[in-house]
């Protein structure tokens, strides 16, 4: 195929312990480390491996977000993507809007495969890939832990509640990456230098003819309920005693 598109979201780094703002209007993001959503890094790694195996000519990374998302796109370019597209948008667009934007790019770029993460670790939606596949009228293989592309089809192993499900999909289509799909490569310094020269195109949702709308409105944010403080027991006998006290043995 000619092109694989990869969606990259700028998100709070997965090591950060996120705190809700005291006034309940959101979560604290000032001065917090931002990274590529971990599932997206895995999606990109898979796309790069497909390119290295000669299954695609190019890999294009796409982010929808603030201009700072250029950092994550540059990281993607340093990993090995050929081009980047930033769709600038101040507020984080919701999955339906994202899916509409991705569909426009799919048509524009004549993509053979779109690789996304299975879920954003900030909004935890797990929707965008399925929505894109629906609007496109094409296959979706979500939560992939294995992908083999063979001509116009892909055999995808999916992590499901019952174990591993294997499906064949006709391409073009959408695949979303789960954690065990691969281990992303480290970026080396010379690659970062090289990435600075790679093309990064900026556009808006309006340029693509996409209007946001029908959004779900988030209002109050609250920290999760705290669990009450527990006890530390001295030894196994103490553990058995504590379980008996709670009526669990």
């Amino acid at each position: 195929m000619k092109t694989i598109l990869v969606g990259i979201k700028r998100a709070v780094d997965y090591n950060v312990r996120v705190r809700v703002k005291s006034d309940g209007t959101g979560v604290e993001t000032d001065g917090v480390k931002m990274s590529i959503n971990p599932f997206d890094e895995i999606a990109l790694e898979e796309a790069l491996r497909l390119k290295e195996a000669g299954r695609t000519e190019e890999v294009v990374v796409i982010s929808v977000g603030p201009s700072e998302a250029q950092q994550q796109l540059r990281t993607g370019l340093a990993m090995g993507a050929d081009r980047a597209i930033l769709i600038e948008s101040d507020d984080a667009p919701q999955p339906l809007t994202l899916a509409r934007a991705f569909l426009k790019l799919v048509e524009k770029e004549n993509a053979g495969l779109v690789l996304l993460g299975k879920q954003s670790i900030d909004s935890d939606n797990n929707q965008t890939g399925q929505m894109l596949a629906a609007l496109w009228g094409r296959p979706q293989a979500t939560s992939a832990s294995g992908i083999e592309v063979d001509g116009d089809t892909a055999r995808v192993t999916r992590e499901v509640d019952a174990g591993l499900e294997v499906v064949d999909i006709d391409l073009p289509g959408v695949i979303t990456a789960d954690l065990r799909l691969n281990t992303p490569r480290y970026v080396k310094l010379p690659d970062i230098m090289k990435a600075k020269k790679k093309p990064l195109e900026t556009m808006s949702l309006a340029d693509l003819g996409v209007e946001a709308g029908g959004d779900i409105v988030s209002s109050a944010f609250a920290p999760p309920e705290e669990r009450s403080k527990g006890v530390i027991v001295e030894d196994v006998a103490g553990l058995v005693g504590a379980l008996k006290e709670k009526g669990l043995l």
């Binding site: 935890d124 992590e159 509640d161």
Partner: protein, 312 residues
């Protein structure tokens, strides 16, 4: 009045317990009429199980050989056809529901509300974000259908004893053939199902090998418990992926959860927040798992676990 359609997960013969939990969530919406949709090859038996769930008005069965094995791309257009006239369409936040419902939402031109943990009104809900580190109140647009997944760990199953009407449904929609099921690789086990077990024992990276993980199984068997694992234990190949507990594994709410040699990363804790009692055995007294444990034991698991098993 809210008219709610619940899409039922099943394996061809048995209704998944997530259906009764989705009904419990739907029943929190005031003045709701709740129907259940069964998409199957031959869904009569599953439908009769769904008809027993308290609070269900009707069970609709759409039989089609293409419905099994369950593929989201095949189910979605049927759900859309069946959803006409409903104000809400709910599925479970199992891997099956997460695959299917956003496809349905997009075909209905709405965003989905993922992982409802509480109902505040017909269009207002609470859901977790940031791996459960924040709980947000969300409101769906008043004029459009609400498509959502229900965080099953937040709900107790609706009761039984009902005998709702079962009706068959003809869905005249074109089904795609671009996606084909090949196989399901599944490690079958006689142990209680992780997602519904009242007790779960999980092991982490500290177990060190598949052979040594045996001590977790032994303890679980003594307790009549299901067995789970951290991502590190799955990645290291000690156990299969379907045993992973956490943000990207299973979100569970057993009465008793025993975490052995698991550090307690936030992504793991997300999966056990609703457990009744959490027990942790870890040799590092600083391990974050002790911040959430109701009962903690600082010890080497290779000493403590066999000793505990012997004492039970």
């Amino acid at each position: 009045m809210a008219k709610i359609l619940i899409i039922a997960e099943h394996d061809g013969s048995t209704l998944n317990p997530s259906a009764a939990k989705s009904v419990a969530c739907a029943a929190d919406i005031s003045d709701a009429e709740i129907d259940v949709l069964v998409l199957a090859a031959d869904g009569e038996s599953v439908a009769s199980q769904a008809a027993e769930i308290a609070g269900v008005s009707r069970v609709l069965v759409a039989n089609n050989a293409a419905n099994e094995p369950a593929l989201a791309v095949v189910h979605a257009p049927q759900v859309v056809a069946a959803a006409s006239g409903y104000s809400h369409v709910f599925g479970p936040s199992t891997t099956w529901g997460k695959d299917l419902m956003p496809r349905v939402a997009a075909l209905l031109s709405v965003n989905q509300i993922s992982d409802i943990m509480a109902v505040l009104g017909s269009h207002e809900f609470r859901r977790p974000i940031y791996a459960g580190n924040a709980i947000v109140t969300v409101t769906a647009p008043a004029e459009s259908v609400v498509v959502a997944t229900v965080r099953t760990a937040s709900y107790k199953s609706a009761g039984g004893g009902n005998s709702a009407a079962v009706e068959s449904l003809e869905l005249d929609v074109e089904l795609p053939t671009h996606t084909r099921f090949v196989e399901l690789q599944s490690g079958s086990s006689d142990r209680p199902d992780l997602q519904t077990a009242a007790r779960v024992v999980s092991g982490g990276r500290a177990l060190g090998s598949a052979e040594d993980f045996e001590i977790i199984y032994k303890l679980a068997d003594k307790l009549g418990a299901g067995v789970g694992a951290s991502r590190a234990a799955v990645d290291a190949g000690y156990v299969p992926n379907e045993m992973q507990v956490g943000q990207t594994g299973k979100i569970i709410a057993p009465e008793l959860y025993v975490a052995i040699g698991i550090s307690g990363a936030i992504q793991h804790l997300t999966g056990i927040k609703d457990a009744g009692t959490i027990v942790a055995i870890n040799k590092d007294s600083e391990a974050p798992i002790f911040e959430v444990a109701d009962i903690g034991l600082v010890a080497d698991l290779f000493d403590a676990v066999p000793e505990l098993e012997a004492k039970l």
